[in-house]
């Protein structure tokens, strides 16, 4: 991208759009891949797509996180041909509760939490949202809450794993010129060139 004459505000905006589109594409890929892997229980998944929601949250803020997570659920369901099926509502409810929870703790705690803590909260929110949706739509019996503690235990570890991967990704991305202020980035390019 040799466009030093471009207005830095416009450049930042365009970069943000390009990166968010890439994040959504990667999130959809991870989501679809995980869903296609065999598993009899719709909710036992690692949730790797959440890495991209976390990256959007840390790099661009809450609205970007919503964009990535909702677009991921919508596009993923379209690709899998299960838009508005029970599985779709489970995924949507999980994503909505998880994203709300992650944005709230990120805003409240800020730097006191690494992506691992935010991801763990998101994973717990995801479990809660999914069980709520499953209670209402699939197994209309209060006994479904019996699996919540075990399910939560699993999601804590998957949340730590995705949070850790997100932390690694963020560390790499922040070294990339596109994530430094525009003027600095152009300077560093000039220095390299």
């Amino acid at each position: 991208m040799t466009c030093s004459a471009v207005d830095p505000v416009k450049l930042t905006h365009a970069r943000r759009q390009v990166f968010l589109a890439m994040f959504i594409a990667i999130a959809v890929t991870l989501h679809v891949l995980e869903t296609l892997l065999p598993s009899p229980v719709p909710w036992l998944r690692l949730g790797l797509a959440n890495i991209m929601t976390l990256a959007a949250l840390y790099l661009y803020g809450g609205r970007a996180a919503w964009t990535v997570s909702l677009a991921r659920v919508g596009v993923g369901a379209l690709l899998l041909g299960r838009l508005f099926s029970p599985g779709f509502w489970l995924a949507a409810a999980g994503a909505i509760v998880a994203t709300s929870a992650m944005i709230i703790v990120y805003r409240v705690a800020g730097r006191r939490l690494s992506p691992i803590g935010v991801s763990a909260i998101g994973a717990a929110g995801h479990a809660l949202g999914q069980i709520l949706a499953a209670r209402l739509l699939v197994i209309q019996h209060a006994a479904i809450w019996q699996i919540f503690p075990l399910f939560l235990l699993f999601t804590i570890f998957s949340g730590i794993l995705t949070g850790w991967l997100a932390a690694g990704l963020l560390e790499q991305l922040r070294q990339h010129p596109a994530f430094q202020p525009v003027a600095d980035a152009e300077d560093s390019k000039a220095a390299e060139g």
């Binding site: 065999p38 209060a142 019996q146 503690p149 730590i160």
Partner: protein, 128 residues
Amino acid sequence: MKTPWQVMTGGDWLIVICLLGISLSGIAWLATAPGGTRVVVTSGGQTVFSAPLDLPQSVDLDGPLGPTHLVIDDQGVRITDSPCRAKICISMGPARHTGDLLACVPNRILVRIDSPAGGEEPYDLLSR
């Protein structure tokens, strides 16, 4: 890449420990719940099998994929064989407390333990 322990802050640990506490206390609480007396198996919303928990027996229950083998013994009720692919229902182990649930989602088999009164169990985890 840093290890998770290098990345985690004090706040992260607090969150993880709290969540672990909620999860483990939930599991412990469920484990101490009173023992139920009846095994009820439903498939697609209909009761297909019901038996007392203190009468050892084994039974085959037909689901869409084939027979799911259920064993009732002194440990409770467990699924010992099922035509599903991942066998999660088998790995769920035995159930014996009121409200316990074994589910084989692919084969549409839902096994639960009911209290003597039958019907809904006396509590659910939403109560405050």
